[in-house]
């Protein structure tokens, strides 16, 4: 995979030679105005629905292994 990535980066590198000094970068193509909604409560996922797809739900929460590596 390292060779493939190098090949792709070699192709991509062609844009580094373009003189784009002063060009504005585009992060979003459609001119957008901020959208506001009324500040009213909406329905939200009930906890049991939100947890239904979790690999390891536990007492209303998502259970994960300890962030700390086990100490030998």
């Amino acid at each position: 995979m390292a060779g493939e990535l190098s090949g792709i980066l070699g192709h991509v590198d062609r844009i580094s030679d373009l003189d784009l000094e002063g060009v504005e970068p585009t992060s979003h193509v459609v001119a957008l105005e901020n959208v506001f909604r009324a500040d009213v409560p909406w329905t939200s996922l009930p906890p049991e629905v939100a947890l239904a797809s979790a690999p390891e739900p536990f007492e209303g929460a998502f259970r994960v292994p300890s962030p700390q590596a086990p100490v030998d």
């Binding site: 995979m1 192709h11 844009i15 504005e24 585009t26 909604r37 909406w42 329905t43 009930p46 962030p67």
Partner: protein, 518 residues
């Protein structure tokens, strides 16, 4: 039943509304046809397996919950039995969430996932009377141009089973072309609707970015992703676009199309100017594809259209910019697959970081890993300006090229893909060669403008011997942002003059009574 399956969506919906055919019989005929899938095009069907049922999305609310206040207010779109698509079954790419129905995005990491809500685009279809016929195979997280990156196996092209249907919406293209669905939904980030439509001889429309809500569409590259229809003809594309477009309280980037969408009726092209990028002259293009492209240009002139040369000097850098921007956005979007809230978890016994690593190592395929690494590299400090920043500036230049072109012409036209459908396995060893398939479709995605691919003719694959069967060649028409109505009118007129399905005769797979008879 064959005559029911010959109807376009617009024809069938009109006959159902007029009481000339029964919605139940029409739906049953399509479920029977879908059941004959031997292209590996469906990952889930409404009538197959224990999770099935005539899925209507009944009872869904988005997001589901208690109480009556929804983001839609009182007019929440709910599944209906009447509407412009009453009784029409539609295949949906497996990237759209569907409540209670398996949704994988073609990835092992989402195997078994049943979303708690339904994508807005799908909800709008069911609210207009349509039903989900099945979920279609795709390149994993929509990353690919051949459908060979699916964790659930490649899809075969109904024109030639040893060839790819294109990607990433390969399953959606194959079911429509193969007579397994009357129409399908796909998504297009750099060509993923248009290129498979081209390689399977059907119509594929990528609308303007923001025309249709992305809510419930599993994210790949959020500034580029847009959903759209794959259909047998342009009128059906217009019909589905008209149902799906619009603002959405759940996607603030969805702005809709002012004035909606009407079914196209135009039959000539007089007074319309079509720009051919002069760069096509030197582009790497199969001779057969070039011949069909030039013949199509001649047909435009026959219909009264005017041909002009335009320049897109930065389009050649589109692939480079795209393969920085899209992986960069993907590397951020795919961070959510961590084995905690949904999907597969691998290695839960060690510490948290080990669990993340093992889940992703086993859950993601090679192309997804490749793009996550490219994206994180392009965004890393020290390389950000050289790659991501520079790519965003190229994007500005490409959009500027189109702006300049559209001051002279109404449309820009190109071949959709540089070749006809290639063989399974032919390009999998060289990711860069695969990426170059998107050469003609990526610039429109970067500019956010609408583009449609219509089937224009047949060409033998390059290197094939005399007498080799022809494969479909797509013709791409691009228009300024929010110019969908004019684009559809022109595409409809050209489609009528080209008469692709009639000219291709019995070679068209969907005329062969479903894939099983082949």
């Amino acid at each position: 039943m064959a005559d029911l399956l010959d109807l376009t969506v617009a024809e069938a919906a009109a006959k159902i509304a007029a009481g000339e055919i029964s919605a139940d019989e029409y739906g049953a005929a399509w479920r029977d046809a879908a059941a004959t899938d031997d292209l590996n095009a469906y990952l889930w069907r409404a009538d197959g397996g224990p999770s099935s049922g005539d899925w209507t999305g009944a009872g869904e609310s988005a997001p589901p919950g208690e109480g009556t206040e929804t983001p839609y207010g009182a007019g929440a779109p709910a599944p209906a039995d009447s509407g412009p698509l009453a009784g029409v079954p539609i295949a949906v790419k497996d990237i759209f969430t569907t409540e209670g129905v398996p949704t994988t995005a073609g990835s092992r990491i989402l195997e078994g996932y049943r979303p708690p809500y339904t994508a807005t685009a799908v909800r709008k279809l069911t609210a207009a009377g349509a039903r989900v016929l099945g979920k279609t195979n795709m390149d994993e997280f929509a990353m690919g141009s051949s459908n060979e990156n699916s964790a659930y196996g490649p899809v075969r092209n109904p024109w030639d089973r040893d060839r790819v249907p294109g990607g990433s919406s390969g399953g959606s293209a194959a079911v429509v072309a193969g007579g397994l669905a009357p129409a399908a939904l796909g998504t297009d980030t750099g060509g993923s609707i248009r290129q498979p439509a081209s390689l399977t001889g059907i119509v594929g429309l990528k609308p303007t970015y923001g025309a249709i809500s992305r809510f419930g569409m599993i994210a790949f590259a959020s500034s580029l992703d847009q959903c759209g229809p794959l259909t047998r003809d342009v009128a059906d594309a217009a019909l589905l676009l008209g149902v799906m477009e619009g603002k959405d309280p759940l996607d603030s980037t969805a702005v809709g199309l002012d004035g909606g969408v009407r079914l196209p009726t135009r039959e000539d092209l007089s007074g319309l100017r079509f720009g051919v990028p002069k760069e096509i002259g030197e582009a790497a293009l199969d001779p057969g594809v070039r011949a069909v492209f030039e013949a199509t240009i001649a047909r435009i002139e026959d219909l009264g259209g005017e041909i002009a040369e335009v320049a897109l000097p930065h389009a050649e850098h589109g692939i480079s910019a795209y393969y920085v921007i899209a992986p960069a956005e993907a590397s951020s979007n795919l961070a959510r697959y961590d084995g905690v809230r949904y999907g597969q978890r691998v290695g839960g016994d060690e510490d948290l970081v080990t669990m993340y690593e093992e889940t992703r190592a086993r859950g993601f395929g090679a192309e997804v890993k490749r793009r996550i690494m490219l994206g994180t590299y392009a965004l890393s400090s020290g390389y950000y300006d050289a790659y991501y920043g520079q790519a965003q500036k190229v994007r500005t230049r490409i959009a500027g090229d189109f702006d300049a072109a559209f001051e002279q012409v109404d449309f820009v036209v190109t071949p959709t893909s540089p070749s006809v459908a290639f063989g399974l396995g032919e390009k999998t060893a060289d990711p860069l060669a695969m990426y170059l398939n998107d050469f003609f479709t990526v610039p429109m995605s970067l500019a956010g403008i609408p583009a449609i691919s219509i089937p224009a003719g047949l060409a033998a694959p390059e290197g094939a011997g005399d007498g080799a069967a022809g494969l479909p060649v797509g013709f791409q028409i691009a228009a300024p942002a929010f110019g969908e109505q004019k684009l559809l009118e022109a595409a409809h007129a050209l489609e009528g003059a080209l008469g692709f399905a009639a000219a291709a005769g019995d070679g068209v797979p969907w005329k062969q009574g479903g894939a099983a008879d082949v």
